[in-house]
Amino acid sequence: MSILKILVVDDEPGIRSGVSRILRNFRVDYPFMEEPYEFEVYEASTGESGIEIIETNQPDILLLDNKLPGIQGIEVLDYVKKRKLNIVVVMITSYASLELAVKATSDGAYDFIPKPFTPQELKSSIENITKRAFLKKMTRDLQDSGKQVRFQFLSVLSHELKAPLNAIEGYLQMTKERQLGDKIEDYNQIIDRSLERIKGMRNLILDLLDLTKVESGKMKQDISDVDLLKIAHTAIETMRPYSIQRDIVINLDVPHNLFVKADAEEIEIIFNNLISNAIKYNKKGGTVDFVISENGDSIEINVKDSGIGMTQPEMDKLFQDFVRIKNEKTKNITGSGLGLSIVKKLVENYGGKIDVCSVPDQGSQFIVTLPKEKPCL
């Protein structure tokens, strides 16, 4: 038997006991569910005590009156939203407060139950929510088991690998059929494009190898005291041809004798990705500031560029596999869409974190915080 916890927050005792009574023997069954859902009802007469129950009992569903003696229902809704709690919120409200209804919906309320409500109205709303909760849980389980993610990853990967092949194949076909003329010069542009696509594909494969290392090669990690200045120099040297080509100045500010316990190769992957992005998404003639500082038990790697920047919605999806920010400014920049997701995975493996802030047309800043020694968990 699956149980969903319902918290009803209402200052009218009649409503609370009514909800408890109606749902006491109520069950929701659904063809895909292995077993029916039943309900456990918690009651609170104020928003404050409601929040306490939310904290201690983690309800799945919240039935929320807006007019409460202390803080208002909408503030409780705000609390749930701010903490990103996994609770479906239903407002119990009179039809009169349409304005509130609109605000609550935009704040994330899922449904409304008019007050006063019949047992049937309550039941049908709860039934819908239960089905939705079940579907959400199913999706979450799939994601947890990695199946969903794997599937998406593979389908996107095959798309990313096939697209350049198709492009090159198309160009070769055009060349074979002499579609653009008889002179080799007629084909210069499409040869360049083909080479560009091959380069992109090679980078994708290299990034995939990095990713595979990150995800499966943990046993092979070679942990030592890594000299950050040395790795920074190596990374900048690796990127040198690229920075020269784009006329970008890299300012390096890394203290001598600053070490972290880590795998040197992995630190290099992190640095390479951050620096190459800062060059790629920069303006011609721009700058990259690569600064590492020490902060107690951790170090902070700060990579700042003077480039094209990003909007908030773009930043929100930045660290996912294969996400590339597509807009006018990035359309001629090639990339696998894996770099930052690799960096994030690596950094998190070390118990660190990565943050980004960015202003469109001014630049982006990536801040990686790494503990000097990985905390044992």
Partner: protein, 131 residues
């Protein structure tokens, strides 16, 4: 051909776009291109193509569906082809002739991206005549 038909091609892969444009111009049609859902929306605001061929996954993985919906809403008679490689890659296939799918997928036809030139031409001609 003074009144040659105009075909809108939308794809975020510039090479695919270039190649398809060339192909379709050879069929004797005029071509307008767009590299994103957004760019295409700006175009259809002002221009009515005679037919549109759009990629499925662009800015978002359902960009093609949304664009198709918008084109159909503005110009119900304009045939829309969604060109995709999704079916072969994911095993997901959308059958456009299925009544349920028709309700939400507004496109007239799904085509595999690697389709042969002559078949592509047949499909375009057929949809334009039907229109």
């Amino acid at each position: 051909m003074a009144t040659s038909k105009t075909i809108l091609i939308v794809d975020d892969d510039q090479d695919y776009l270039f190649q398809t444009k060339l192909k379709i111009e050879k069929f004797g049609y005029q071509v307008i291109t767009a590299e994103s859902q957004r760019e295409a929306e700006l175009i259809i605001d002002k221009t009515m193509p005679d037919l549109a061929i759009i990629d499925l996954m662009m800015e978002n993985e359902d960009s093609g569906f949304i664009l198709s919906y918008k084109i159909k809403k503005k110009y119900p008679a304009v045939p829309v082809i969604i060109a995709t490689a999704v079916a072969t890659e994911t095993g997901i296939s959308f059958d456009i002739n299925d009544e349920n799918n028709r309700k939400w997928i507004k496109a007239d036809l799904f085509l595999e991206k690697g389709i042969r030139s002559d078949l592509l031409k047949d499909e375009i001609d057929r949809l334009l005549i039907k229109k």
